[in-house]
Amino acid sequence: MSQPWLRRVVRWARRRSPWVMHYNSGGCNGCDIEILDLLTPRYDVERLGILKEASPRHADILLCSGPVTRQSRDRLRRIYEQMPAPKWVLAIGSCACSGGVFAGGYNVEGGVDQLLPVDVYVPGCPCRPEAMIDGILTLLEQVQ
């Protein structure tokens, strides 16, 4: 990928084809159903090229929701490791950002950033679908 034109083409493609994968590491479901809502007719993120993938090997962006519980910790890290580079992490919702209302619980480790390098934080409890789309687009603007 030494040629500048090739780099430009690849960047163009990456910005227009972000495939996401979702893992709830201990949240209350509120953010998760809003993430699913992204696919439905009102928000339809397929118009932005966003597809929800099932296998970590196919995904570019990991959407994390919920605080990280002790049982989920290792699984979350493994999912991230399985994803091929270049990959990004979005923390969806207040819990994923900081632990939210559950911070201080005996089984809660805190936000996702305790574990993974988070690229964009989308706060809100639960955060609205519009905010998530904005978060993904903010991330894509930074993609090189």
């Binding site: 990456r14 084809s17 118009r47 099932a54 296998s55 090997r57 399985q82």
Partner: protein
């Protein structure tokens, strides 16, 4: 020398690989768009399949430890090569790269190779979901392949030739196969849906059951090649059906041949898209039942009827 150049151009540009690539991207987009619109969504922009493909090509390519890298790389290439080779014998809009008596058999044989590669791809990567998906794709293969083959035999019997171009030409002179043999056309369509593993027969890659089936562990370039081979296969399958049942590119002379061919192909694509919106996914045993108890006997009936028509 000039002959060689023309042959190369035919192979690489039109109606060869470059053309097929463009068609694959276009058809994939139309398919996704139609499905989205029927579900009340906006759908992706026209360049979406291309962007997806380039992005996958530029991604890191990892395989689980303990798998044979060469095998995993060879399988999607094999699958793609088989469908590309098949495409050489299929007339497109009046142009034929290659044709001989009996090329229908060759095409059918080549089109049955990708499922095998798909199955082996599942075993080669070795994940639980991949293996189950691979097994299912093989089981599915046995269910749809026989009715599909028999359905495609009947136009050949009727026109008395085993060359695709010949069948299409004969039909455009007389009457479309789909009108004489509507049953055969429907059987071939159902078989094609099974072959392409499209909903409602997307059993080997059922997302809610086995993640992505045999492709679960593939990533990056290999995944891009798999996707491309599936998309090209869709195009080739549709072209084949248009030639065998809808009279190819020939028409009463109202429109130029390439345009009629394009319209017919899009029509078949539309049927496939609508079918995937309308039905829930079947179970593998339900598909096997459907294949052997319904489709296969109907296909036999169809052949018997064709032979009888041909005799009288």
């Amino acid at each position: 020398m000039a002959d060689l150049l023309v042959a190369l151009a035919k192979l690489l540009l039109f109606p060869g690989f470059a053309f097929l690539f463009a068609c694959a991207m276009l058809f994939a987009w139309i398919d996704r768009l139609v499905i989205a619109r029927l579900q009340g969504r906006v759908g992706p922009p026209w360049f979406q399949p291309l962007a997806d493909w380039i992005k996958l090509m530029a991604k890191e390519d990892i395989l689980p430890t303990g798998t044979n890298g060469w095998v995993c790389a060879a399988l999607p290439v094999l699958s793609l090569a088989a469908v590309l080779t098949a495409s050489i014998y299929i007339p497109v809009g009046g142009w034929i790269a290659h044709a001989f008596e009996g090329d229908l058999i060759v095409v059918l044989f080549l089109l049955s190779l990708p499922p095998l590669a798909y199955f082996l791809g599942g075993w080669a990567t070795g994940g639980v979901y991949s293996v189950i998906g691979g097994n299912r794709s093989l089981l599915q293969y046995f269910s749809y392949e026989v009715p599909f083959l028999m359905a495609l035999c009947s136009p050949a019997i009727l026109s008395g030739s085993w060359s695709i171009a010949e069948i299409a030409a004969r039909q455009s002179e007389t009457i479309w196969g789909a009108l004489v043999q509507p049953l055969g056309f429907i059987l071939a369509l159902v078989g094609l849906i099974g072959k392409l593993k499209r909903a409602p027969f997307d059993i080997p890659k059922a997302k809610s059951e086995i993640v992505a089936g045999p492709l679960t562990e593939f990533s990056g370039r290999k995944l891009a090649l798999w996707h491309l081979s599936i998309e090209v296969k869709t195009v080739v399958g549709i072209f084949l059906l248009v030639n065998a049942f809808l009279g190819g590119s020939g028409v009463s002379g109202l429109l130029p041949a390439p345009i009629t061919f394009a319209i017919k192909s899009l029509l078949v694509l539309l049927i496939l898209s609508v079918a995937s919106v309308l039905y829930a996914r079947l179970r593998i045993d339900q598909l096997a039942n459907l294949g052997w108890r319904v489709l296969a006997p109907l296909a036999l009936l169809q052949i018997a009827a064709t032979v009888w028509i041909g005799a009288t």
